[in-house]
């Protein structure tokens, strides 16, 4: 089939972009959205023109690198499918297809269809992990995990970090992404120790970089990992618990060296875990 592509071209973050129109011919139904770009690029290179820059890597729907708006829909017309697995099948001969980068305040465009998604990693860096030092883990079987819980954790952990949820959201919010991580770790016994501290600091970072969630729910069909809105409920519930208990002056179980360090405003590796909260902060 023959398709007309309207592609966003932008030289770099500082230069304004515009749409350019290209024709591609001889596209077959099983070609993926990214292979469509490959075909276009081969054509452009053969003509000595600059190919369209786009992010991609595994091309099997797991790395989360790909991400483009296709006719205004994140990843493409099919729900729950990343761009690399979307097929041209969905279009018919002569269609005009618009390809744009993710549009979100937190994702500046770097070139053409490539955006900077490092804000997602900053959310993770502020708490989306379990702090276990290497070599300090107990025997794996010492902590049985209920199968249903483990499956639920896996459902949430399946997030590929593509950012489609943010791109889909009219507010540019990252609740689905952050919620998936909070729910994944909170579902497991290993994740309990830092549970409330985690959600507080992840939400703080999220709110400083992304918009606020108003429950549009547009993120859900866009999500290749089929993460559901329940994770946002989970995020809100845990966040409320963390904040309420703090207001009441209750301290959720905090045996976390990092938390103590943060309280004292010092680097945690210099922190003495035996100093309990309430001790006079030693500032250096």
């Amino acid at each position: 089939m023959r398709l007309t592509l309207e592609v966003w071209r932008q030289a770099d973050a500082a230069t304004p972009g515009r749409f350019e129109r290209y024709e591609v011919d001889g596209v077959t139904a099983e070609v993926s959205m990214l292979e469509l770009l490959d075909i276009l690029n081969a054509q452009l290179v053969a003509e000595g023109r600059e190919p369209v820059a786009f992010d991609h890597d595994c091309r099997e729907g797991i790395c989360g690198t790909c991400g483009i708006m296709v006719n205004g829909q994140p990843h493409g017309p099919e729900d729950h499918t990343p761009a690399c697995l979307q097929r041209v099948r969905a279009f018919s001969d002569g269609d005009v297809v618009t390809l744009e980068p993710w549009r979100a305040g937190a994702f500046p465009v770097l070139r053409d269809l490539v955006v900077d998604r490092s804000a997602l990693d900053r959310i993770i860096a502020s708490g989306g992990y379990i702090s276990t030092a290497t070599n300090a883990a107990p025997e794996a079987l010492s902590l049985p995990v209920n199968k249903h819980q483990s499956e639920a954790a896996m459902d949430h952990a399946a997030c590929i970090g593509c950012g489609a949820c943010v791109a889909a959201c009219p507010n540019g919010a990252a609740q689905l992404f952050a919620g998936a991580k909070v729910a994944h770790l909170a579902e497991l016994p290993q994740g309990q120790v830092e549970r409330y501290e985690r959600v507080r600091s992840m939400v703080a970072t999220m709110e400083s970089e992304f918009g606020s969630c108003t429950n549009y729910g547009e993120c859900v069909p866009a999500c290749p990992a089929a993460i559901g809105l329940d994770v946002i409920a989970h995020l809100n519930r845990d966040f409320r618990t963390a904040v309420v208990s703090e207001r009441r002056g209750e301290v959720p179980e905090r045996t976390d060296v990092r938390w103590l360090a943060r309280l004292r405003g010092e680097a945690w590796w210099q922190s003495d875990p035996d100093d309990r909260p309430g001790d006079t902060p030693k500032r250096s």
């Binding site: 770099d12 070609v31 290179v45 729907g61």
Partner: protein, 781 residues
């Protein structure tokens, strides 16, 4: 049938004197093993036969080897100073060596010829066809043997003993050391996070926009560990033995044993980090069995094991970033290694957004940059996978080992269209419940459902009755190729074989199948528009995993001091063929449990020294060379884009350095690759400029290195005059078409020195000894 050769039924020979000491049934539980390690059962370990290395002069030599005089004296590359060798060995090493040389001849079970005294020179097979030998001599020279710094002693306690001998860095001094880690896959993230936790200054680099995207994320099937959670006779020793055999006796015993031992901790660690491993109803961790083994030791998280491990690793890395201790550089591609005074002291990177080319210096450099399977263009690897980091290190003096050892995965999806950009992998775990078959008649174009049972050839079950559909990858891939070559391929392009779930669905029900393989089967439907629940899947062999990589010693350090290598980028665990689910394991073990200790040992004596300043001549010249290469690529101004060359290279490799190779084909292939390389450097067109995000430039740069690697792959395959594992030379097969090893001449790894300008590469051999797992012909019949 042929039961006496079934691997698991062989007596534990070659472990002489070991099994009797507190080893119920010849297998000790992990607890006992730990006890040995902490000295409780030291005497038991003491009576164990000492592990012989071939480091003494003459060990592992063959009398027919050519002597040093006839090979041009190789330029000596910076090899770890002699002091390093003794440093990493136990204190009583010399005594051990002498004693064992004097009193412990290799056990009778070892079929290798008794070592004969010979000068320490290279091995050279005497039976090579003279014309080929002459041709080879024009293409390469032979250098001195190389030996790893593996300590001696009992394999069971070797790593623990070794740890005791590694130097430590005082916690207060760790901040004074800077370590560069390139790659944030399982190996890189593990090493970077752990070194940072320990207190070193770590700079981590990735060409991706986020650490989580490293290609480890794409692994599906699972990770092996000798936990023995099922009462099926698994143990550390069995994983060790399976890995050595699976690798067709071309990997180091010492390293493989460490891999098996540490596997246990990897599962503990990953569980603690929140990896949602599949669970049984009672809450225990579930396991399954995976290609090439008959025990159930593969841990998995649905069909997304790699993703879950990788995300856990990336989170640990980001935890360190959040704590302000680790500097993460994303979208930075390493273009060169900086070597000053014989040591690796830094790297040169290109900022993939701005195009800036800058140096970074440190006390040590760790490369964990993954495998090079993408040299075939269409492989199961991610598009950005490259050899640039390791190849540049090779050009700076690091030995590149076994480049020809490439695994073809038997269950990738066959190509369906010209534009298909890569081969999608279907996890081999599917072979647990799927049956592989082709129609008995070539050219049968009936729909699979219409082919009656008696006209189907379940060839794996027929050829390998005891392993059947679970036969190891190299064997399955070659068996598939035989069927394809016989015209029995299925599908529109006749380039696949069937993998059928009909019987499993009847036996287990659709729901169980969905639970086990749901997303894999969905992926298939997505790619092909066919439903594997109702008609069989089509699969075909595809390039998948690089067993070869930079040569490293027992410390994962290359021959360039200060350059450490881990994960798929290194070479030492998988020999000639990797067992399924062993690679996530090796990347994890290197990253979390080996490199943090061994890097410290290298750093310790450097206390007080600063990283090399950026105005050091080695730094400025490396930066200038890297920039020069980029400018050169941009300046050729030819007519053909890099991807066109890459496809052509892939085709050459598939034809000549593929599942099956021959001397004639390899020589032809090597020449064709060289021509293609010359053409590339005169006729490639890289559009755009250097000071921008320029993906054409990235592709061209990676391809330039792939072209050089491909030449060496063909040369290595031509040089290795035997069949072993995935390296199948058609001249060397048994009557019934199985790989025929030449243990007499080729019980060794080949480690290549880069060719000097206008010269040829030099092959150095590392002799291997098999004491614990006696050399035997692999048989999966």
């Amino acid at each position: 049938m042929a039961t006496e050769s079934r691997p698991e039924e062989q007596p534990p020979a070659g472990r002489g004197g070991r099994g009797d000491a507190g080893a119920p049934g010849g297998r000790r539980a992990a607890a006992v093993r730990r006890a040995v390690a902490i000295g409780v059962a030291a005497t038991a370990a003491g009576v164990a036969r000492r592990y012989l290395t071939a480091r003494q002069d003459g060990q592992g030599q063959d009398p027919t080897h050519r002597d040093a005089g006839s090979a041009p004296a190789p330029e000596t590359r910076p090899v770890a100073p002699g002091a390093d060798l003794s440093r990493s060995a136990p204190a009583d090493r010399s005594a051990v060596d002498t004693a064992s040389t004097a009193t412990s001849p290799p056990p009778a079970a070892v079929t290798r010829e008794a070592p004969a005294p010979a000068a320490a020179t290279a091995t050279r097979p005497s039976r090579t066809n003279p014309a080929v030998a002459e041709d080879l001599d024009r293409r390469r020279s032979i250098g001195e043997e190389i030996h790893d710094a593996a300590p001696t002693g009992d394999l069971d306690t070797m790593w623990d003993d070794h740890l005791l001998n590694l130097k430590l860095v005082n916690p207060a001094n760790r901040r004074r050391f800077k370590v560069i880690v390139v790659g944030t896959g399982l190996a890189g993230a593990g090493a970077a996070a752990t070194l940072s936790e320990l207190g070193y200054q770590v700079e981590a680099f990735t060409l991706h926009d986020a650490p989580r995207r490293a290609h480890s994320v794409a692994a599906q099937g699972g990770i092996n560990a000798a936990k023995g959670y099922k009462a099926d006779g698994d143990s550390i020793d069995r994983l060790f033995r399976d890995t050595v055999k699976g690798g067709d006796f071309r990997a180091r015993e010492a390293d493989v044993h460490r891999l098996s031992e540490m596997s246990v901790r990897v599962i503990d660690h990953m569980t603690a980090l929140g990896v949602p491993f599949a669970r049984e109803y009672g809450g225990q961790i579930a396991t399954r069995s995976f290609g090439g083994v008959q025990v159930s030791r593969t841990f998995y998280a649905r069909g997304q094991t790699g993703q879950q491990l990788q995300i856990a690793g990336a989170q640990q890395l980001l935890k360190e970033v959040g704590a302000g201790r680790l500097t993460l550089h994303t979208r930075q591609e390493m273009l060169d290694l900086i070597v000053a005074d014989g040591r690796a002291v830094g790297i040169v990177t290109r900022d993939m957004v701005t195009g800036d080319i800058v140096p970074h210096t440190a006390h040590a450099v760790v490369l964990a940059t993954g495998g090079y399977g993408n040299v075939y263009f269409k492989s199961t690897l991610a598009k950005s996978s490259n050899v640039t980091a390791t190849w540049r290190a090779h050009k700076r003096g690091a030995l590149f080992a076994n480049p020809c050892m490439i695994q073809f995965h038997p269950t990738s999806l066959p190509l369906t269209s010209e534009w298909q950009s890569k081969l999608t992998l279907m996890s081999e775990s599917l072979r647990n419940d799927g049956r592989v078959w082709v129609p008995k008649e070539p050219g049968d174009d009936r729909a699979p459902e219409d082919i009656p049972e008696e006209e189907r050839d379940y060839y794996l079950e027929r050829m390998y009755p005891s392993f059947g559909n679970l036969a190891p990858r190299d064997i399955s891939s070659r068996a598939a190729k035989i069927q394809l070559d016989a015209g029995k391929g299925v599908g529109p392009l006749r380039n696949g074989v069937y993998l059928d779930f009909r019987d499993a669905i009847a036996r287990l029900g659709r729901k169980t199948m969905e639970e086990r393989y749901g997303n894999l089967l969905e992926l298939y439907t997505d790619a092909t528009g066919e439903d594997p629940y109702t008609s069989p899947m089509r699969i075909a062999p595809g390039p998948h995993f690089a067993m070869g990589g930079l040569w490293t010693d027992y410390n994962q350090m290359s021959n360039v001091p200060g350059l450490f290598v881990g994960g798929e980028a290194s070479f030492n665990y998988h020999g000639a063929n990797r067992l399924g689910a062993n690679s996530l394991l090796s990347a994890s073990v290197d990253g979390w449990f080996v490199l943090p200790w061994t890097v410290a040992d290298y750093l310790a004596p450097q206390l007080g020294q600063e990283p090399v300043p950026h105005d050091h001549p080695a730094v400025t010249s490396a930066v200038a060379e890297a920039s020069g290469r980029v400018d050169q690529l941009l300046g050729i101004g030819g007519t053909t884009g890099p991807d066109v060359y890459h496809k052509e290279l892939g085709q050459l490799l598939t034809d000549h350095v593929g599942v099956e190779r021959s001397a004639e084909g390899l020589a032809k292939g090597a020449d064709a690759i060289k021509d293609l390389k010359d053409d590339f450097w005169t006729n490639v067109r890289v559009v755009g400029h250097g000071q921008q995000l320029n993906q054409e430039l990235e592709r061209a740069g990676r391809l330039a290195d792939y072209l050089e690697l491909a030449e060496l792959m063909a040369l290595d395959a031509l040089d290795r005059d035997e069949s072993a594992g995935a390296h199948f030379r058609s001249e060397h097969q048994t009557e019934d078409g199985e790989a025929l090893r030449d243990d007499e001449h080729w019980t060794s790894s080949s480690a290549w020195e880069a060719a000097p300008p206008d010269g040829t590469p030099t092959r150095r051999s590392e002799p291997l000894t098999f004491d614990a797992v006696p050399l035997a012909t692999r048989s999966y019949k």
